[in-house]
């Protein structure tokens, strides 16, 4: 059996396991939900961290995402993969957080001032790329994260952010240009 086939089988097995955990969690099993948390926490944290560019806030929003997921897991009908559903729920939560009056408005934040040694940002460095993304304006950063990292389509992003597809494309263009200015 080739390495690809082994990997494919492992993925299938994992997908089945996730489906079982989801089913058990839907019937009230907290231990099954813990398995889901363990499986998805890294991806959800990465999404939250990249979207809100703040570790403490990302942790808080990740926690909230899983609490909300537990509350709403009964509504998950399996029409999409659970991971996709969870990512959608988390991105909605981050966007809602930034929309709420106690926090910064989506349009309100401009590109933060870079530290004096920012010229050392290197495209090849993962840390620098993450930093450059984090320094993007909020709305542009969210669109870039959801489109270029999470692979969401413009119409999907437009829907969750309650903006037009045109605005979404414009924000992505802006984000990419800012990244190019910073990194190249």
């Amino acid at each position: 059996m080739s390495a690809n086939l082994i990997e494919l089988n492992a993925r299938r097995q994992l997908a089945t396991e996730v489906e079982e955990w989801v089913y058990e969690a839907q019937t009230g099993s907290l231990s099954a939900f813990e398995n889901l948390y363990r499986h998805f926490k890294g991806r959800i944290y990465a999404l939250c961290l990249r979207m809100c560019a703040n570790e403490a806030l990302a942790e808080e929003l990740m926690q909230e995402s899983f609490v909300q997921a537990w509350r709403k897991i009964g509504t998950f009908k399996g029409e999409s993969q659970f991971g996709t559903w969870l990512h959608r729920l988390s991105s909605n939560l981050v966007i809602s957080y930034f929309r709420s009056n106690k926090n910064r408005e989506l349009d309100g934040l401009e590109v933060p001032e870079l530290p004096s040694n920012d010229e050392s940002l290197q495209l090849g460095s993962r840390r620098d790329l993450e930093l450059a993304i984090a320094q993007l304006p909020v709305k542009a950063r969210m669109v870039l994260v959801m489109h270029d990292i999470e692979g969401m389509a413009h119409h999907e992003i437009a829907e969750v952010m309650s903006i037009s597809t045109g605005t979404c494309k414009a924000q992505l263009h802006r984000a990419r240009n800012l990244l190019k200015e910073r990194l190249l």
Partner: protein, 180 residues
Amino acid sequence: MSERDDRDWSKIKQSIERLPDSIEPPNDQWSAIRHRIELDASRLKSKSQQGWMPYAVAASLLLALVSTAISWKSMSAYQALQQQQIALFEQQRSLQLMEDQHQLVKARFLDDFEQQTESMDPAVVADVKNNLVIIEQAIADIKRALMQDPGNQRLNELLAETYSQERQLIEQIKLSYPTI
């Protein structure tokens, strides 16, 4: 976007694609998540335990209201039936009284009439008898119909009218033949 822009973006895109899908959070959030879920569950439980009382009270109240409504309806129906029976009884008594008076008047007339028939035109006698038979037949028909439908107001009125017609006939004969 120019070619250079495309090339520049392509470099960044490759770097983005190499970014890890997953980043380990600095702290394990499970205990906090579990705590919040359990708190939710206990709140929900307490809410549902507190919640049954108003529903029970509402259900009892509803049951009482429904019972009262049913009783009221039954009572009303019973009372209506009772009133209907009383009215029917009164009507029957009134008809019986009318019948008794009629029989008395008719019997007296027939006695007098039979005594006078020999001195009367046989055609007139036959005509009077014929009319009395017709009226008697009509009264018998109405009484039969009333036995099937005692509460029928129209039949009762018709019976009273027929008795009245018979009385009028007797009165006319008496006027024509003062000796009767």
